[in-house]
């Protein structure tokens, strides 16, 4: 077999994360620290990339040491299309940055055979003052093309982007969508031997995304080696013939894409979409105990990534051990910024004002489609009762799930591809009144 296109051997990447500064309780000490600060600042900045042998060997696992990658090894053969998946913070982006030479490995060795282009962002180096035409050349050469190559593909790029009319307009006057189209068009026409892509498909409208996916599929079939990071599992399964699952900086699984993706989706890595408690550990008291929490889809199976256009069920499984209480299962949803989105409490009329007999209960609260915003949602689960102060259990951030807008249309985004702020994202009915008559100013 030929030499692999990419060979990663025992690669680790260590970062030093900021620790809280010491707080002084006296003016004298503060003064002393102020005087000493240039020296300590120097040490601090130096320590960002210098690590002692103790740290490197793993013996010193200080609070400020973060192993973004730990002893990662794999080979990618020429022509393989490999998808790298994992939760946020698993080390996917760091791995791509190390392979694309943006940052050096702290330990280990990477051998690359062939010309690499990496696409960690769409439109890297776009300059707002330059025209579309000029930016195609600038961006193309930044991504590793030669001028001749850009010349040759220029018409194709422009046609793909669909911004012909605005070629000589400065990019600062482009809409977000146009900019993304132009940038992706350049990227899509790269012809390196090895292509490294990070999550760039998460932009653009649905139609354009489809176009990009098709283009990417072609790239894969041309025998190019591709490393691809995405949260879009559909795209990963469609494009890649091999998957690598990263967790906490290490490779957890490496193999067939379908197997990897399904084990990623069911394992509920990092943030768990499902939790079970054994009878002895179960939160609660002698009357009620919490046994399980789950985020489920409409078919009832646990799902960590939730399509924004689908209903999602929050499920609480609990044992009633003592009769005689009116029980009110309760959930509270919080987003990544810590904003409470809403709380919800049992609405099942069948159990309204009724005391519960001992036994196993499963309550499910259905969150409607097109209500939550994109991003992580953390769920607090609690049991409330008819007495305001009696709560048998309350579990903060017990489970979590990720709301994903696949940009295939049908979400509250409509045709918008940019940021959409707000803790909720309901899809509202919009109406338009139109009349051809316009009041002209001054007339």
């Amino acid at each position: 077999m030929a030499d692999p296109a990419i060979s990663v051997e025992g690669v680790s990447k260590i970062y030093r994360i900021g620790l809280r500064d010491q707080v002084n309780d006296s003016i004298g000490r503060s003064l002393l620290q102020f005087v000493k600060s240039p020296l300590s600042n120097y040490r601090k900045y130096r320590s960002l990339y210098k690590f002692s042998d103790e740290v490197l060997s793993g013996a010193d696992a200080g609070d400020d040491i973060l192993w973004a990658l730990r002893d990662v090894s794999f080979d990618v053969q020429q022509g393989e299309v490999v998808g790298i998946i994992g939760v946020n913070g698993a080390g996917k982006s760091t791995l791509l940055k190390v392979i694309s030479r943006i940052t050096p490995p702290t330990k280990g060795k990477i051998t690359i055979r062939g010309r690499v282009s990496s696409l960690l962002e769409v439109g890297t180096g776009f300059h707002p003052e330059l025209t579309g035409r000029e930016n195609v050349y600038l961006n193309g050469t930044i991504l590793g093309m030669r001028k001749l190559e850009v010349d040759r593909k220029f018409d194709e790029i422009i046609e793909f982007s669909g911004v012909e009319k605005f070629l000589d307009t400065p990019v600062k006057r482009y809409s977000m969508g146009m900019r993304v189209r132009l940038a992706f068009a350049v990227a899509a026409h790269l012809e390196p031997e090895i292509l490294i892509i990070d999550e760039v498909l998460a932009v653009g409208d649905a139609e354009f995304q489809k176009k990009c996916l098709n283009k990417m599929e072609d790239v894969g079939q041309e025998g190019r080696t591709v490393l691809f990071v995405s949260h879009n599992m559909a795209a990963v399964t469609r494009l890649c013939n091999r998957g690598i699952l990263l967790s906490a900086g290490s490779i957890l699984e490496d193999g067939n894409t379908h197997a990897i993706v399904s084990s990623y989706l069911t394992s509920g890595l990092g943030t768990t979409a499902a939790r079970d408690w054994s009878a002895s550990e179960a939160p609660g008291d002698d009357s009620v105990r919490l046994r399980a929490l789950r985020v489920v889809d409409q078919q009832g199976s646990v799902s960590e990534g939730v399509d924004i256009r689908k209903k999602v069920g929050l499920q609480m499984e609990f044992d009633v051990l003592e009769p005689g209480h009116i029980l009110l299962p309760y959930f509270r949803l919080t987003n990544e910024e810590g904003v409470s989105i809403f709380s919800t409490i049992d609405q099942d009329l069948q159990w309204h004002s009724k005391t519960r007999e001992p036994g196993r209960y499963v309550s499910t609260a259905w969150v409607p489609e097109n209500l939550l915003s994109e991003g992580m949602i953390y769920v607090q689960a609690a049991m409330r009762t008819e007495h305001r102060k009696y709560r048998p259990f309350q579990e903060a951030d017990a489970i979590a799930f990720n709301v994903i807008d696949t940009m295939e249309g049908g979400s509250a985004r409509g045709e918008w591809v940019g940021k959409l702020l707000g803790a909720v994202r309901p899809k509202l009915d919009w109406t338009t009144d139109y009349s051809a008559e316009v009041d002209t100013p001054g007339g």
Partner: protein
Amino acid sequence: MSETHTDKRVTVLTSESGWALFDFDELRQYRDLFYFLVWRDIKVLYAQTILGFAWAILNPAVQIVIFSVIFGKVANLDTGGVPYVLFSTVAIIPWTYMSDSMTAASASLVSGKQLLGKIYFPRVLFPLTPILAKLVDFSISVSILILVMFYYQVTPTWNLVLIPGLILAMMLVPTGIGMWLAALAIRYRDVKFAMTYMIKLLIYSAPILYSASAIPENLRFWYSLNPIVAVIEGFRAALLGGPIEYEFIVPGLLVSVLIFLSGAIYFRRMERVFVDVI
């Protein structure tokens, strides 16, 4: 298949940084990008201005007027019989280039950090870009120089043949200092604050506003180690004729080569960790 395989570029990435000066092979591969980066800097500099490239003339012209009034008329400095406007113009034109390109090169990594974290290309292109881009301003401002020389009816001498070499030296100084400061500035933003003083210090320490012959005999050697002295004195001798004072020119040139080489090595030693220390 195997034939095409053998000529593939092999890149090995480890945690070690080398001691090499430049990777010329790689620089050649990226020469088109270098061209477009320079071209971008030139295009963007005067974007959305009314005067456009006229600013390249206006900036040094205003300086020349101010200096001529303050130092020529008020302080009445000795210029060895040369009219002060002429005396200062031949120095201010190369000086403006050097200070502009030095400032831009030093800030190049910090201002390009967006790009730094997203894509790889030879990092040294960051400080090298302004060195070339500012040559456009320089060429435009040379017209002032020609105008002033024409006005004072300076007859060119054979000294003019030194000009190409002097222009190279004029580029070498900010390249060396720029590589040093850019690599330092990305780790220590102190450089940004120190830069303002350094430029001021340089303009007074170099013989821009006064003549180098005003320096006392016993200090001349130390004075001549300043590479800017070499460039300015060189330009003055080449343009205005008169004796070429090698004692002021040679030591400074040697120092500037030294700064350039050490700057290139230091930059290359540090370039791999730039992203981690931003």
